[in-house]
């Protein structure tokens, strides 16, 4: 059996669920070791994913593909396969799960709760891998919706005092988005090519949607769901509540991985399947993305709760990612795909460090945590600074590479948006440095003298994330090589049918032509 023919993805999708089942079922004296089992299991899954990745051919398009008929009456297949973007996001997911399990080692009071938490995280891992590997729109939709359930329980059952409300708000926002998308999925079936592979992304690319209006409506159904998930201004309000109420480990998976499903969906579905509608919507989306960048940063400045602050910084970062996606240039597409990974590492680490701070200080309020913790906990302070600066895209860290690429790529199409968004970086520096200042600098408070610094387990939690950011910051080539192919493909597909505006101009596909056409259309509305 060769590397490519082994059903890697199916095994990777099934394995965490099997692990969850084991963790749930072990009882008696073994129950105390449930978290150990879960952790080792997640490491094995991660190892499996890494082995799979070594067999990935960066120039080869969608790989490790499998397809089985699932619901032939609706043309639904169980179809998995990853291109470069899917691969890096799968790798990000399998990396973050053991980190989160390790971070939550002592969070739960009883072995039963530990087991329950670990099992839910493993169930979620199954959905995370599957959603980034899905090559069938219906299958993707099912995962998109079903993965809400474990997250809902992770927030509601283990979170703080406001968790109940936050979990409900999260669920209702996501379900509302999901049902709008369901309208799109149904329309894809009734208006699309149909047949036994009627939901395969490959058979939907280049499909005829009847009229311009119907393509735009279906595009909107998908886009709105993805925008809620991402989350973009103005449908982002569920995220700060959820992040504030949930355990930081949950937030790592929620913000670091789950929200990427939104932007991943835009790249793999909106652009290739509805190219004309995507170009039509691009001006508005770019404006919303720029607003997200500033709105998120601005509100992050005003937060006193550290978890809320991090959530708002994410809104700002997602603005950058969406900006890159809708710039339709190869550089920007690579940049935003790489940004998705880096944001997972950087914000994930930030949430985890915030979690360590909270467990030491017993509060989420930044003003009450410090000041002067730098003296007593130099390791915590140092790692917080590095991770914080990665959110500001400090050169040398991987976030810099991706943010730079997004801005350069966007500049080719929408210079104004690129220039304005660059100002967002200054605000990022503000909110991170002010937070650092409040907590770590200044004269140390006497009663904080006994605060413990990061222990071995905690270093093992944030260490790998920081190491990865450094490695990818100094040597981003492997990641960029993997992402180049799908990015070029996305740009090609997004301009699948030549826009009418180009014919008027009589110019070949020069950079900016498509967007200019789209802007014209948008202006006419």
């Amino acid at each position: 059996m060769t590397m490519q023919s082994f059903p890697w993805l199916t095994v990777l999708i099934a394995a965490p669920s099997v692990g969850a089942l084991i963790v749930w079922l072990v009882g008696g004296p073994v129950r105390r070791y449930a978290r150990h089992i879960a952790f080792v299991w997640s490491l094995l899954v991660a190892a499996g994913a890494v082995i799979m990745a070594t067999g990935f051919n960066s120039g080869g398009g969608v790989q490790f593909a499998e397809r089985y008929e699932w619901i032939p009456s609706f043309g639904v297949s169980y179809a998995v396969g990853v291109n470069g973007i899917g691969l890096v996001l799968v790798l990000l997911s399998v990396l973050l799960v053991p980190v989160v399990l390790l971070a939550a080692w002592r969070e739960q009071s009883s072995p039963a709760k530990q087991a329950h938490y670990a099992a839910l995280v493993l169930v979620l891992e199954t959905f995370m891998i599957a959603v980034f590997a899905a090559r069938d729109v219906f299958f993707f939709y099912i995962l998109f919706e079903a993965m809400l359930i474990p997250v809902y329980f992770l927030i509601g059952s283990f979170g703080g005092p406001s968790a109940k409300k936050a979990a409900l708000k999260f669920l209702l926002y996501s379900l509302a988005g999901g049902l709008i998308m369901l309208a799109g999925v149904i329309a894809v079936w009734t208006r699309g090519p149909g047949g036994e592979q009627g939901f395969m992304i490959d058979s939907l690319v280049g499909a005829d949607w009847g009229s311009v209006r119907s393509e735009r409506l279906i595009f909107l159904a998908f886009f709105v769901a993805f925008a809620i998930k991402a989350p973009m201004f103005p449908v982002h309000t569920w995220l700060p509540d959820a992040a504030q109420a949930a355990k930081p480990g949950t937030s790592v998976l929620l913000v670091g991985v789950l929200d990427k499903v939104g932007t991943f969906g835009m790249v793999t579905m909106c652009l290739p399947i509805f190219p004309a509608a995507s170009r039509w919507a691009a001006p508005v989306v770019i404006v919303l993305a720029v607003i997200s960048i500033f709105w998120g940063a601005f509100l992050a400045l005003g937060q006193s709760d550290i978890l809320r602050m991090i959530a708002y910084t994410s809104v700002s970062h997602f603005g950058f990612i969406v900006l890159g996606v809708f710039a339709f240039t190869e550089t920007a597409e690579i940049g935003s795909a790489f940004y998705m990974v880096n944001h997972g590492l950087s914000t994930g680490a930030l949430f985890l460090l915030a979690g360590f701070l909270i467990s030491r200080r017993g509060t989420q309020d930044m003003a009450l945590m410090g000041p002067g913790l730098q003296r007593t906990t130099p390791l915590l302070g140092g790692t917080f600074l590095i991770v914080g600066l990665s959110a500001v895209a400090l050169p040398g860290l991987s976030t810099f590479v991706s943010e730079f690429m997004v801005m350069v790529g966007t500049y080719q199409r929408a210079p104004a948006a690129a220039v304005i968004s660059a100002l967002g970086v200054i605000m990022a520096a503000l909110y991170i440095l002010i937070a650092y200042q409040k907590i770590f600098t200044g004269p140390p408070r006497e009663d904080l003298a006994g605060t413990a610094d990061l222990g071995g387990r905690e270093l093992w939690v944030v260490g790998p994330l920081i190491a990865l950011m450094l490695v990818l910051g100094l040597y981003p080539k492997p990641a960029i090589d993997v992402l180049r192919g799908p990015a070029a493909e996305t740009v090609r597909l997004a301009e699948y049918d030549e826009p009418a505006a180009e014919a008027v101009e009589g110019a070949p596909a020069a950079p900016g032509a498509a967007l200019a056409g789209a802007e014209e259309e948008g202006g006419q509305r």
Binding site: P72, F74, G156, S157, K164, W189
Partner: protein, 574 residues
């Protein structure tokens, strides 16, 4: 009982199948001794099985010796009686389900042409067989819940339904451990009626079947063991509004007869397609018939009985009624719309669209503010009737197939859901078990007290909400997809919006069960009783819940085989 019994027998033997004979004595009477009516008994098997068992069960009930107590007021039946009755009911319904399944497999394999039997009074076609199968499976599951009792010997039914609530007589009956074993023949008659209903080939048979299924349900609704007054109110309301609905149906039948001169569905269908321009009398008659059916499915604005009856009835009966009546009545609605009046759809479309939208919106919006789990599921049932109507209204093979799939999956999940409610009982501060705990407050923290039960209920709720990987999602996709494809996209959009809103009240129950702490039994719950907790029973309810859970998950994860089954049947019909 004879009021129920006689129509059932007449329906069986086909005596009621000479509509002209009723009004026109000139029709020659077939001489005695000749084989006047040709009856295909194999096609009638499932109905005969159930109604026959109902009669047998009634006779057993009458024949059982009862022991009078000293003051000659209580006649206590022997303990074995309930075992026998339950066994008769379970075995006969299971046998009917198997017969229907056999017929379905046979029809699916062959050309599936309709069998007209009993002189055209009964049509056995794929639609009939499918509905009979679905009714039988749901009734079987429902009977498991009905037959169950707690380890303390408490079942869901009043010891003596005729006793005045709270009277000495009732208390005495309760103390003596009397039980109401006539529940079983009543359920069997109702089931038989439901199976005959979609098979009816003329309006008289249809009406008789409607009454055979309704009358026992009116009685059963009033038999709850706890909260007797609520139960009797439910019974009366159900009876009055049900009679109202039946009257509409009968009245409509009279108009149709006046317009077409026939009560046979096929002849009415022929008259409809031949009549241009359409006879207004015929249209009015058909709309009135539809109104009668809308009453039974609980569509707005004919839904007002639903919440009270669902809440007041004994919970096992609520589940049985909610699942089986809906399946049977929708079966007839499909029969009338697809087989009889396809040429009329344009004229009826405004009616159907209005009812469908109203049903979805009203069910959802009022469901949002409910504080009682049974009432909440009642409004959810109304909303679901609206969702099914979107599939019915689309008038296509896809819509038919989707509606059939929806009916079965919703019915099965409903039995399971009400089965769970039947198991959650109040515990007062002394630890005594009381009636069912249906208040949402009492369900708080159930996830900690009875995790398996709460988890199962959560899955049923997710299925009702239409979350993927449950059968509810596939069903919704099927009907909304059909609506989109047939140009009824506004209906599908309203349906999706209502699904989004309805998710709130399903999620709220999950929040209460898993994320909230149990209320303080003395303080907050003083008026409503105690906190709810899962009780231990003989285990029959758990079997029913397990089976419906399995259906809900299997048809959610691998629905392909079942969808191709319903699609095959729909193709045979259209």
């Amino acid at each position: 009982m004879s009021a129920v019994f006689l129509p059932a027998l007449t329906a069986l033997t086909g005596l009621a199948t000479h509509p002209r004979g009723l009004v026109d004595p000139v029709v020659p009477v077939v001489p005695a001794g000749a084989p006047e009516i040709d009856i295909d008994w194999s096609a009638l098997g499932p109905v005969v099985m159930v109604l026959g068992a109902a009669v047998a069960s009634t006779l057993i009930e009458a024949a059982a010796s009862r022991q009078k107590d000293k003051d000659q007021r209580l006649a206590v039946q022997p303990a074995y009686l309930r075992v026998i009755q339950a066994a008769v009911a379970l075995v006969s319904v299971a046998a009917a389900a198997l017969m229907a399944l056999q017929l379905a497999v046979k029809v699916h394999g062959e050309d599936g042409s309709a069998v007209l039997t009993a002189n055209g009074a009964v049509i056995v076609d794929p639609l009939t067989i499918y509905i009979q199968l679905a009714v039988a499976v749901c009734a079987l599951l429902g009977l498991f819940v009905i037959a169950d009792r707690t380890v303390q010997g408490d079942d869901a039914f009043a010891p003596q339904a005729s006793a005045v609530p709270g009277s000495d007589y009732e208390n005495k009956a309760r103390r003596r451990g009397m039980t109401q074993t006539d529940v079983y023949p009543l359920v069997l008659f109702a089931t038989g009626g439901m199976m005959l209903f979609p098979a009816a080939g003329d309006l008289i048979t249809m009406f008789v079947a409607l009454e055979v299924l309704s009358l026992p349900l009116y009685l059963l609704a009033g038999m709850a063991r706890h909260r007797r007054l609520l139960s009797q109110e439910a019974s009366l309301k159900y009876f009055l509004l049900g009679a109202f609905g039946s009257a509409f149906f009968l009245f409509g039948g009279a108009w149709v007869y006046g317009a077409t001169g026939s009560l046979k569905l096929l002849e009415i269908g022929a008259a409809v397609s031949g009549a241009t321009p359409l006879d207004p009398i015929l249209l009015v008659g058909l709309v009135l018939i539809l109104v009668g059916l809308f009453f039974k499915v609980g569509a707005v604005p004919f839904h007002s009985w639903t919440p009270d009856v669902y809440q007041g009835s004994p919970t096992p009966i609520t589940g049985f009624m909610a699942a089986c009546t809906k399946i049977a009545a929708f079966g007839v609605l499909l029969r009338v719309l697809y087989a009889v009046v396809p040429g009329l759809t344009w004229d009826l479309e405004p009616v159907l669209w209005t009812v469908s939208v109203l049903t979805m919106v009203v069910g959802t919006v009022i469901g949002l503010v409910q504080k009682d789990v049974k009432r909440m599921l009642a409004y959810s049932a109304i909303a679901h009737a609206g969702f099914i109507l979107t599939g019915v209204t689309s008038m296509s093979a896809d819509g038919l197939s989707g509606s059939l799939f929806y009916l079965f999956t919703y019915g099965v999940a409903t039995i399971g859901g009400f089965g769970v409610i039947a198991l959650v009982r109040e515990v007062d501060s002394d630890g005594h078990l009381r009636g069912e705990a249906t208040g949402l407050d009492q369900w708080r923290g159930l996830g900690k007290r009875s995790p398996v039960l709460a988890g199962t209920f959560a899955i049923f709720l997710l299925s009702f909400a239409g979350i993927p990987l449950t059968s509810g999602f596939v069903a919704k996709f099927a009907v909304f997809g059909a609506a989109f494809a047939s140009g009824a996209s506004p209906l599908a959009v309203v349906g999706l919006a209502c699904s989004a809103a309805a998710a709130f009240f399903y999620a709220r129950v999950i929040v209460a069960m898993f994320f909230e702490e149990a209320p303080d039994a003395t303080g907050q719950l003083a008026e409503s009783g105690g906190i709810g907790i899962g009780v231990r029973t003989l285990g029959l309810t758990q079997i029913a819940i397990g089976v419906s859970l399995a259906f809900t998950l299997v048809l959610g994860i691998v629905p392909g085989w079942f969808l191709s089954f319903t699609e095959g049947l729909s193709r045979l019909l259209s």
